[in-house]
């Protein structure tokens, strides 16, 4: 036969004791204390390591000029820019004032 109904006060006391033993917060009303934001692990450190590190060729060349290495990709890019300028396909001139900007002349 089941024991007589346990009074809620006794149950609360039991929970309180359990909390003190296992070092958990006693929160009988289940109020939101925001503790989960402090308890959760920090995700930044593992996030940063997702992509494998890539060698920065420009930086290596700057740091050790005696190696006489060449950044072929960068040279090719600069050559492309020069070629485009020759064909009149370069970047537009920067406006000196706000009125000179191409955006200002646009109808909209």
């Amino acid at each position: 036969m089941a024991a007589a109904a346990i009074r809620p006060m006794r149950l609360a006391a039991l929970t309180k004791t359990r909390c003190s033993i296992f070092q958990t917060a006693y929160n009988p009303t289940s109020a939101r204390t925001g503790a989960k934001y402090l308890r959760a692990r920090l995700r930044g450190p593992s996030m940063v390591n997702y992509y494998p590190p890539e060698a920065n060729i420009a930086q290596i060349i700057r740091q050790w000029p005696e190696l006489e290495m060449r950044n072929y990709a960068e040279e090719e890019r600069l050559q492309d820019v020069e070629d485009k300028k020759k064909r009149g396909k370069g970047a537009p001139k920067k406006a000196k004032e706000k009125g000179d900007s191409r955006r200002a002349g646009r109808k909209r």
Partner: protein
């Protein structure tokens, strides 16, 4: 050189890491129902001033080989096609094509 979307993602990751502790502290105050509403509101206003890339949800796992954003097998940080190519070249330890 990774593509612009990967560079943006790398930037987001670094910004998230730099701001994570402070953001968590404000989150704790703002979501804590035992504190006064004024304090919680101030904390929420502070949270709103953080930049776009400080939120961890802006970070997306992309393919480390091709920069593709969909069909990523996260254990290898590769999209499904790069995963297949690398697996067939036996560059992924413990992965080989099924055959029975």
């Amino acid at each position: 050189m990774p593509n612009a979307r990967v560079l943006r993602d790398i930037k987001a990751r670094n910004v998230v890491k730099a701001n994570e502790v402070l953001r968590r502290a404000y989150l704790y105050v703002a979501r804590n129902e035992t504190l006064s509403p004024q304090v919680r509101h101030q904390a929420q206003l502070q949270l709103n001033t953080f930049g776009k890339y400080t939120r961890p949800t802006t970070v997306k796992n992309r393919c480390s080989e091709s920069g593709r954003g969909r069909g990523i097998i996260s254990e290898f940080a590769l999209c499904r096609y790069q995963f297949r190519l690398k697996a067939l070249k036996l560059e992924l330890p413990g992965v080989h094509k099924a055959s029975w």
